[in-house]
Subunit: 503 residues, 2 copies
């Protein structure tokens, strides 16, 4: 379908009598036309004035639908030039393990309430933009620690201790905020290791970063509110924000971290979500000047800052950095962390540190919204920390991951010299290998997956993948030492094959 016949096509399908608002119908139809490629990438859509006229509907309705589609990444608009179908629609999932099924042509739409078309607008958008990988283990899965080194015997001993004599209070629902014992142990740890200033009451136990962000967003923002996210950022959090109705504004990062422009600063957000200790996924550390600027801006404009401190325990060559929360004197930082990277992801224990004045509301809301439990596991973890196993495990893993990182860097240097530099490897569980400008990192990742190697294309972490730098996230933490060099060579074969092919 050419864009010029779009209004006829739409006119045939809009149905004033079916009870669905025209706004909603138009939005869905345009999404369908774009996803099915009936409206090809790059094609220009009619101006809102023209389309409104031809369909006999309000221009405001069309404008709003276009704005929504821009936000969702289906179209982009260039001032003075018009609105164009995006080069890659948001359903083209980055790093999807298998070739995506082509969208069904419009004629073959299934009967009602079937398939993805029965999803809500937010549901369809979530599925279309889903970044989750089907693989969660093996070379070079980013963000996954080596769970085989977890001290299983200590953990089993604690388990048996707590199950030997059942304590009903540990097997029922959790009080708001989680087990006091764990909150105490965490407060101690965060004070000494992460320079976080808090009392145990300010700590809210969650199931991880996703739930922590969900809780903060629901308590502190309303649908339509603006949130700053770093560009690039973690796909999972982006999805959580979107289903909560937030409008996220991607803010560029430079070597000092998030770097809002004058335009950005002119529109203060309700919330901002930053990774000061180790920008995700690029790995730079936010400078002190930038930290002070952010805190002062947030104070003046009454924004909340969510500090995601997801893996800063692992710093190679320098001491772990102090948290942004520790610099905050006006109670505007929500600090978010988890045990997923330090112990094992499947544990599903994370935490928020909230300003004192919010502590009670967060505790109540966590019980009300999630009806938490898992107190026995929280008791085991508290004891695990109190007995010193937590810090000694981190120390041990830091050494191990540091070695693996070096092994990976050596393998890369042997194969490529300085041609494909790695960045962001000073901390955490992955590094980013830069690919030549203009190369297709998604194709490289797909070729690697064919060779049973998981890497994630860097461009997928950006708000506009088509304009993003090309690179690969390579996770080394969960790869046994002796497999790193061979696996890298397999990856390099995929890189070479793809870059030649696509050159």
């Amino acid at each position: 379908m050419r864009a010029s016949v779009l209004s006829d096509w739409l006119a045939q399908r809009l149905d004033r009598g079916n009870g669905q608002p025209i706004y909603r119908q138009l939005h869905r139809l345009l999404q369908q036309a774009i996803l099915s490629r009936e409206l090809p990438a790059g094609s220009k859509v009619p101006s809102s004035r023209l389309l409104a006229q031809e369909l006999g509907i309000g221009r405001n309705t069309v404008t709003q639908v276009y704005e929504q589609l821009v936000l969702e990444g289906y179209v982009s608009s260039a001032t003075g030039r018009g609105t164009f179908v995006a080069e890659s629609a948001p359903d083209e999932i980055v790093g999807a393990p298998e070739a995506e099924a082509p969208a069904a042509p419009l004629e073959s739409l299934p009967p009602p309430l079937q398939g993805n078309r029965a999803l809500s607008t937010r549901g369809a958008r979530l599925i279309a933009g889903a970044g989750v990988s089907k693989r969660q283990w093996g070379a070079f899965m980013p963000g996954v620690p080596d769970v085989t080194k977890f001290p299983a015997r200590v953990w089993s001993r604690l388990h048996n201790k707590y199950w030997r004599r059942l304590r009903p209070d540990l097997l029922t629902y959790a009080p708001g905020g989680g087990l006091a014992l764990l909150r105490h142990a965490l407060a101690d740890y965060l004070r000494t290791s992460r320079s976080v200033r808090c009392t145990p009451e300010q700590i809210i136990i969650t199931t991880g970063i996703h739930q922590s962000v969900d809780l903060a967003v629901r308590l502190l923002s309303d649908p339509g509110d603006l949130i700053w996210t770093e560009d690039p950022c973690y796909w999972g959090v982006r999805s959580v924000l979107h289903v909560s109705g937030l409008q996220s504004r991607p803010i560029a990062v430079d070597e000092e971290g998030i770097n809002p422009s004058v335009d950005d600063l002119a529109q203060p957000p309700k919330l901002m979500l930053v990774t000061p200790s180790h920008q995700y996924p690029l790995g730079m550390v936010m400078s002190l000047a930038r930290r002070r600027m952010l805190l002062e801006y947030a104070r003046q404009n009454q924004c909340w800052i969510i500090e995601d401190d997801y893996d800063s325990e692992y710093r190679y060559g320098s001491r772990p950095l102090a948290s942004l929360q520790g610099l905050d004197t006006s109670g505007q930082v929500i600090y978010v962390g988890s045990f997923g990277k330090t112990l094992f992801p499947g544990l599903r224990i994370g935490y928020l540190v909230v300003p004192e004045a919010l502590a009670e509301s967060f505790a109540t809301a966590s019980a009300e919204l999630y009806r938490e439990g898992q107190l026995l596991q929280q008791a085991m973890l508290a004891e695990f920390i109190a007995e010193g196993h937590f810090t000694s495990h981190i120390r041990k893993m830091r050494t191990l991951y540091g070695q693996r990182r070096q092994t990976l860097l050596d393998a890369a240097a042997r194969r490529y010299g300085d041609a494909l530099p790695a960045v962001g490897g000073d901390a955490g569980l992955h590094l980013v290998m830069q690919l030549p400008e203009g190369s297709d990192d998604r194709a490289v990742a797909a070729a690697a997956l064919e060779r049973n190697i998981v890497v994630r294309p860097l461009s997928g972490y950006y708000a506009q993948p088509s304009l993003a730098p090309s690179g690969l996230l390579i996770g080394y933490a969960c790869v046994p030492d002796e497999e790193i060099a061979p696996a890298f060579n397999t990856l390099a074969d995929a890189i070479d094959a793809t870059l030649v092919q696509f050159a």
Copy 2:
């Protein structure tokens, strides 16, 4: 500090000018005084009348703070004798690593963006309407099974088996939908025991009813969409719906279950949430005619039905009833269940059964939104089911709870004859005792709590508590047999005292 100088100490610290409500300040100060042992355990605190006078504040404020502290376990009150500092304050956890850091003095409280005023509209509404109870165990907490009867030795054996040889795939993030092994075991169980028609792929493992409903609502509805809820219904689900932006329309129930009026039927909702097997909290069973009507209405109007089958394993005197899902021929029912009532609430494993066409979207969205884990626990549970422990535990508990229910009914009959009839006790873990029309069930519940008995006022489950029938939810499942009659008599004292007082 002796209790007699408490009012001076408080007077010096209460600060009307600092923007913090007096209620909150007084609450914190008393907590601090108790935690720091300034007010020793066992000491008597001034009466609310006296303290209010000496501080020059409202007596209601003091009463409310005292009630809050009773709820939290800081003080206890004995009718006619006064209010006393508890022997062990709630922070004194066995094995707590160190004494708690004293809360920051009130003077140093930071400026703006503080307190509930900083919550978003949806956040403030959530907190204001929160129904979650601070107590989760003891007579007569509704909805809590007897976790002390859980076969701990079997569970520990399974735990040790899985931790003896670490399987990395069980310790990392979960694939969308949960562990295949558990989904298979559940499909078998649900087919045979609950007449649910499904393949393992249609089962999505979640952390419980809250997450199941959250997922369904986000994938299938948009903010502003209409959802039918039963009136009365479970408070927790109501909160989940509200933060997701749904408009809920409370639909009256009669003895056949949900009973939409002509007006209701004229506005088809996007979703409806029903408890056909055991209306929550009233306990009636939805009739077959009503089930057929609902399914046909949903088919014609393209609505989704969420069937919450939360505790129907426990039916006394008749066989468990077939699910609504099993009658659905057009794929419109989302079936929701959990192991919280059958095993123990703290386990946090629940599930959805979704129509085939939605299975993949739900699996993807669960991984994307919640980043699930806990696979090792899921493997243990799958084996627990496969080895027959699950069904035999249910059988054993059904007999036990049936006896406890009878003991409770006998105690009620001895005290009240037919004056306060009980309803809804044919199934589940609680029954509803009706109170005389116009009586204040919240006052009764508060009076019971002063006597250390937890019951929940029926009116709070209705959309309009002030117009609702008066009654008490009495949970008998987690109360040892020999404690039921004495605890009921204590409850009855509270009922009698309150109903006389308010007559």
